[in-house]
Structure formats: C-alpha cells, structure tokens
C-alpha cells in the first residue's frame, strides 16, 4: 500500500445541475481512484439530500484554470465600454433633444411601443 499511496487517489472536481433547466455548477472536490468511484462518492458526499438532475466528475489535472497572476489581471480590466453602465450619460443627452432613452426592452422588443 505505502508505495502506491501517491498514485492511488486522484482529485476529481464535482459539477452538478439541480434540475433539467439549470446550468452545471461546481460543487466541491473529492478523492477517488477512478471516475466510477468518483461518481459514487459524489452522490454520497453531496447529494444525500439535495435534488440533482445530472452529475459530472472531472479529473482536476484535466482542468486548465487561471493562475493567481492571471486572476489578478482580471481585477484590473475596465470593461465599461462593453456594458450599459458605460453609456449612462446617454439618458441626459437624449433629454436635451426631448427624447426618452430606449430601455433594453425597447431596443430588443420591437413591440412598436417605443415612439
């Protein structure tokens, strides 16, 4: 046993969806010697009570995540120009022309109620 101790277990990350309609969500990780055992352990560890519609187990070594420096970089990104909050000043502008700014619903809706 002692020689095999470092190779026996793999770390698996567990993902699940609660209902057919919900997206997969990360739950936690567990140790298992193979994917089948990982699924059994996932059911035992995380879904004794919780409702679950589907489960994925993924070997952690197959996941390419971000390093800390890559995560730090994300915090520095300014993405206002990609979001509506970067265009908040438009409301005031349109008022100067006696117009109401279109809401998201007006832009997407096409219900003809945007005069």
């Amino acid at each position: 046993m002692s020689e095999a101790k470092n190779e026996f277990y793999n770390v698996y990350e567990v993902f699940s969806k609660k209902t057919d309609k919900s997206p997969f969500q990360h739950q936690f990780s567990l140790l298992a010697p193979n994917a089948d055992m990982a699924l059994i352990m996932a059911k035992e560890n995380f879904f004794r009570r919780e409702q679950v519609a589907d489960i994925w187990v993924v070997k952690r070594e197959n996941i390419r995540g971000l390093s800390q420096s890559e995560r730090e970089m994300l915090k520095r990104l300014d993405k206002d120009y990609r979001e509506t909050k970067g265009y908040g000043y438009l409301k005031k502008k349109w008022r100067e022309y006696n117009q109401e700014q279109f809401t998201e619903q007006h832009i997407l809706g096409g219900k003809g109620d945007a005069q």
Binding site: K5, F8, F28, L30, E44, R48, R49, S67, S69, M73
Partner: protein, 321 residues
C-alpha cells in the same frame, strides 16, 4: 500581460503585504494563491483537526445505530452518522490541497491520526453509555460545534468557508434530531428523565472544554489569536463559550434539568456567565489520547482502515491494467 508580470515580479515581502490587504478587504484566499507559510500551517492544523474530528465523531454515535429505540430513531441517527463522515470527507479535501505543496496527502493524515500526532476534539474521546448520551451529543455537542463553525462561515480561506457552508446546512437537521431525542426523554418516565440528567452530568465538563482554554496560559499554547489576525476565525474561545451558555442554559433549565455546577449564573454587571472553570490539565490528557475511549476508538479506526485495505488494493490493481 503587463499586470501578470507585475504580480510575478513581486518580492516575498510585497506578496505578503498584498496578501494581508486582500484579507483585510474581505477577499477570499484560494488553494493555489500565494500565502505565507504561517497561514498555511495554521489552516492545516485547524482543518485537519476539524476534519478528523468529524470522522472520529461519528464513532460514539455509530455505537447507537444498532441500539436505537425505534426504526425511525435508527434511520435518523444513521443519516447523521453518514453526514458526519461526509463532513470529514469535505474537510480532509480542504486540508489535503493545503498539504499538497508540502508533499503530504490523505495517507499522511491517517498515519498522523494513528500515531497520535493529529489530535481530535476532546468530546469524541468520551464514552456514550446510554441513549441519553446519543441525544446529548446531537443536542449540545453539535450545538457547540454549530456555534464554532458558523463563526468561521466568513473565513478568509475560501475553500474552508465553502465547506462550512455545506456543513452548517446539515447541522440544522442534527440540532433538531437532538432536540427531538431529548424532548422525548424529558417528557418521558422518571427513569428516562434520570437518564437524561445523568447524561448532562457526564457531558457538562466536556462541553466547557470543547471551546478550548480562555488563553494560552491554561494549556501553554493557543492558536486562536493568530487565527483571528488572519481572519480565519472571528471570535475567541471564551466568546464562543459565553454564546453557548446564553443559547442553551435557559433551555436546559426550562426542561427542569440541573446543570452540574452550582456556581453558574449570569452576571448582569459584566453581562457574562460566571462558571466553574475546568481542569485544563485533564483536557490536555484527554486530547493527547488518554481519554476514557481514546484507545478503543483509535483502535477501531485503525482496524477498519486495515480491514478495508484490500478494497483499495483491488481498485488500485484495476487501474494499473
């Protein structure tokens, strides 16, 4: 890319400063983030002890699965034992990710438990001779555990906080399971009430000890202050013990039970409970493996690990093909 290079170029001192700033801003530290060794060691000590206590904590209750007084009680206590093992699995996983850079894994945790290097909570070294004890463990021992766990729900270490969130959700069931047992006994025959009182007498000292000493001077070592500095925990041992008193003493009294400490009272002036302190030397004896059941439970754990070795061997062999 510039920012990435910036972080990698930080000196150790700058990384430490950045780390403390993140903690003080309330950010969560993840397993693969840079962290000072001191923080890593504190977390490993706390979480491996917590995890293995869940595993060892299932043993006194497991003794009651075959002896529970009805099918309903048997199913409920079996579910609780299963939960405790599940909590152990979660917490050991958190500890293992922290230990990985030190070249240690689950096998080391188990061996450290067997050699006595890794300690577990004082309460799980004690015997549970009656059904009253099963009730007392679920009501008051779990009650005490809920108080100390929920104060760490906002812990600076993200994986621990997430594990505790899952654990606390199930603790609600455990608390109610315990209340259900002790209320049935409290409303039962005089023999059942006596049995309940005996259990309380047996567990009171252990419950006081559960939260640990007030300060380092009682046992010569306390990691609580450091853990508060790193925002791993939010409150001192004594604050937690006082919360426990405030939450449970009125309930214990309301059932007509007597607390085996005639000096205990709430002091209006200091807004603190005054109580008879315990012998912290005895506490030290218990947690170092000299409690009434320490040897038996460790032996059971060791035998079960050895008896199941063939399952691990069989699975390992299949993988090698």
């Amino acid at each position: 890319m510039a920012a990435m290079l910036d972080y990698d170029r930080l000196t150790e001192d700058e990384k430490l400063e950045h780390f403390m700033e993140r903690i003080n801003r309330g950010e969560k530290i993840e397993a693969d983030d840079w962290m000072p060794d001191d923080y890593r060691i504190s977390l490993i000590r706390l979480i491996s002890m917590h995890g293995i206590s869940e595993i060892m904590g299932a043993l006194p209750e497991k003794e009651w699965v075959p002896k529970a007084p009805s099918l309903h009680r048997k199913l409920a206590i079996m579910a609780k034992v299963q939960d405790e093992m599940g909590h152990g699995q979660l917490l050991l996983r958190v500890a293992e990710d922290l230990m990985a850079p030190l070249g240690k894994n689950r096998e080391d945790i188990m061996q450290d438990l067997f050699s006595g290097k890794l300690k577990f909570h004082n309460v799980f070294h004690m015997s549970a001779p009656t059904w009253g004890d099963a009730g007392m463990i679920a009501w008051l021992v779990d009650g005490a555990a809920i108080i100390s766990q929920s104060m760490m729900l906002d812990s600076s270490y993200g994986p621990y906080a997430r594990a505790l969130k899952r654990i606390c959700a199930e603790e609600v069931f455990h608390a109610q399971h315990g209340e259900s047992i002790i209320l049935a006994m409290a409303e039962g025959t005089p023999e059942q009430r006596d049995m309940l009182q005996d259990s309380l007498n047996r567990w009171w000292t252990s419950l006081i000890m559960f939260f640990g000493p007030k300060s380092a001077k009682e046992t010569g070592n306390s990691n609580a202050d450091k853990n508060i500095m790193y925002k791993i925990r939010a409150k001192t041992n004594e604050e937690l013990r006082q919360e426990f008193f405030t939450k449970y003493i009125p309930r214990i009294w309301s059932l007509g039970l007597t607390i085996p400490d005639e000096t205990i009272r709430f002091d209006e002036q200091t807004q603190m409970w005054i109580y008879k302190d315990v012998d912290w030397n005895e506490f030290k004896q218990i947690v170092t493996g000299n409690g009434p059941e320490s040897h038996n439970r460790l032996d059971l754990r060791r035998r079960s690990y050895d008896n199941n070795a063939w399952v691990r061997d069989a699975l390992a062999a299949k993988r090698a093909i």
